[in-house]
């Protein structure tokens, strides 16, 4: 969903040198090292009803972020942003920049070069990034609990498990959820592994 932004930032950080790059890097990686609860708290302060941004979003898009489903998406996106960008960036860094230059001399513009050379060759980084981001979103707890709290419509697996653990009859439901989590995680890894291997086979056979 936010993949295009991720791709852009990742590619940009991998290829360009510019003044103040360290600042951008810190901003990108901030949510990786900050306690998730703090990130969630900051997001809440930005999106809670009554702030200008919340007013703007609900007036023009009819969208409420805090305590609603979109809040889950925002929290997941913010928390997985650094992981995704890091991994995509590594993917692009593994692509020889001279291949991109070569493509340009063959009369192909930079946009086309990106889609025909950089993206396919850096693909493994992008896939790894998606898997990481998916796993992170699935397990995200701190920021989510701050931003959307716990309601019927905004229940994630970790939130539910946390609620259920104090109930005497929760053990059965928890074990279901644990199994589901296991399958989701293993499935995601299996898919990424499969894609990566398929790519390898194609390139080197």
């Amino acid at each position: 969903m936010y993949l295009d932004i991720f791709l852009f930032v990742g590619y940009f950080l991998a290829r360009r040198q510019f003044p103040g790059k360290w600042l951008v890097e810190i901003l990108v990686n901030l949510s990786l090292v900050m306690p998730p609860v703090v990130t969630g708290y900051l997001l809440l302060q930005v999106f809670k009803p009554g702030t200008p941004l919340a007013w703007f979003l609900s007036k023009f898009f009819g969208m409420k972020i805090a305590f609603e489903f979109p809040g889950l998406v925002v929290a997941a996106a913010v928390m997985s942003f650094p992981l995704m960008v890091r991994s995509i960036r590594l993917g692009f860094q593994s692509v020889d920049p001279r291949l991109e230059k070569m493509a340009r001399t063959l009369g192909v513009g930079w946009v086309s070069t990106f889609f025909r050379i950089s993206l396919p060759l850096g693909r493994n980084g992008v896939i790894a990034g998606c898997v990481l981001a998916f796993a992170r979103s699935l397990g995200e707890f701190g920021a989510t609990v701050m931003l959307v709290s716990q309601r019927e419509s905004t229940r994630t697996i970790p939130l539910l498990i946390y609620t259920l653990k104090d109930r005497s009859d929760g053990i059965v439901e928890i074990s279901y959820l644990v199994v589901v989590s296991l399958f989701l995680a293993a499935g995601a890894l299996a898919i990424s592994e499969y894609i990566a291997r398929k790519g390898l086979r194609r390139e080197f056979s």
Binding site: L99, K101, L106, R202
Partner: protein, 356 residues
């Protein structure tokens, strides 16, 4: 012909400064010089991969760069075909897709037709393979084909044969010759091999330390003392072009003008033209024809030029083609060599090496 005009200055952060101006006057121009002389930088400037601080570059009637007018044509619009030493084939595409990568869909005039390029470079059997499964020579042919199919107006080659061993070099060289003959495409290639320069180039630019040392026709430029300065240990390499060859009794004979050259046994008489290489130090000069020698080749010629180096003298002799002989300063004094003197070049058949 004045196809490419180039005049650029650039200072690198390392302190290396390049200040080069030249015009090409032939179809195939070679940039020649020791490593670190800035040859590849010149190519990078023409292809647009490097922007010089000051400069003007014109290709045919089209300006590629003019820093005075703040004009710089983007790389993808320059229509230059670049071939690097390490080929830079796209590893995730088959040879076929690699070749077609730069092919334009527009209906511009296409002198380079796909099937013809595949034929000339003999790529037909490679089309479905991936670059990682190709040999060095095959990769270089694919890279050449890919550059041609982007319909370039000039071919820029950065030591196209640098990474290949001698045998392969000759084969790729033959393909290059074919390409130049087939399409008459202006070519600029960076090289430090004299043999390939002499064979391919009709115009030569010698560079050293970011400056142009000399410009002109290969035979003359390679012989002038300025360009020899850097290549002291090697000297010029003789390369004779043989167009007519035949077998008489049990001898193989090649013609140089009207004179005959005894060749080592040929594998195939039909591969023509071919080249014969020998080193200047293999030649013996004589001011009168000597009888009773086992040396088979006695080529008569006129001394054109004497280049005196610190420890030896290089003599350029015109025997129909240019031949360089190396003698000691003492021998030069004793024989009283001077420009215009008739001499005989003695050359053992064994010292001749045939190149196809």
């Amino acid at each position: 012909m004045n196809f490419l005009s180039f005049q650029c200055q650039h200072q690198f952060s390392s302190g290396f400064e390049i200040d080069v101006a030249f015009k090409t006057e032939g179809l195939v121009t070679s940039l020649f010089g020791p490593s670190g002389s800035g040859k590849s930088t010149v190519l990078a400037m023409i292809s647009g991969l490097l922007s010089p601080t000051f400069g003007k570059i014109r290709l045919g009637s089209k300006w590629l760069l003019d820093t005075d007018q703040r004009f710089c044509e983007p790389v993808e619009n320059r229509r230059v075909g670049v071939v690097f030493q390490d080929q830079l084939l796209f590893p995730h595409m088959t040879v076929n897709v690699n070749l077609r990568f730069g092919q334009k869909n527009e209906n511009i005039k296409k002198p380079f037709e796909f099937n013809r390029v595949v034929d000339v470079l003999e790529l037909g059997s490679l089309l479905d393979r991936y670059p990682n499964n190709l040999s060095g020579g095959e990769r270089q042919r694919v890279a050449l084909g890919r550059a041609l199919l982007s319909s370039p107006e000039i071919l820029l080659m950065d030591e196209p044969m640098g990474a290949l061993d001698d045998n392969l070099k000759l084969r790729v060289l033959a393909y290059l010759e074919r390409v130049v003959n087939e399409w008459k495409i202006p070519t600029l290639f960076v090289s430090h091999g004299q043999a390939e320069v002499r064979r391919l180039a009709d115009w030569l630019i010698v560079m050293k330390k970011g400056k142009v040392l000399s410009v002109g026709e290969p035979d003359q430029v390679l012989g002038s003392s300025t360009s020899l300065a850097w290549t002291n240990s090697v000297g010029p390499v003789n390369l004779l072009r043989i167009e007519t060859a035949y077998k008489r009794d049990d001898c193989w004979i090649g013609k140089i003008g009207v004179q005959e050259l005894n060749l080592p046994p040929l594998k195939d008489l039909n591969l023509k033209p071919f080249y014969v290489r020998c080193l200047p130090s293999d030649l013996t000069l004589s001011v009168q024809d000597v009888q009773g020698l086992s040396t088979r080749n006695h080529l008569n010629g006129i001394v054109q030029e004497l280049v005196e180096l610190s420890d030896r003298v290089l003599v350029r002799v015109d025997v129909g083609q240019t031949l360089w002989a190396e003698v000691t300063p003492q021998a030069m004094r004793e024989l009283k060599l001077y420009r215009g003197l008739s001499v005989t070049c003695l050359l053992k058949t064994r010292s001749l090496k045939i190149l196809w």
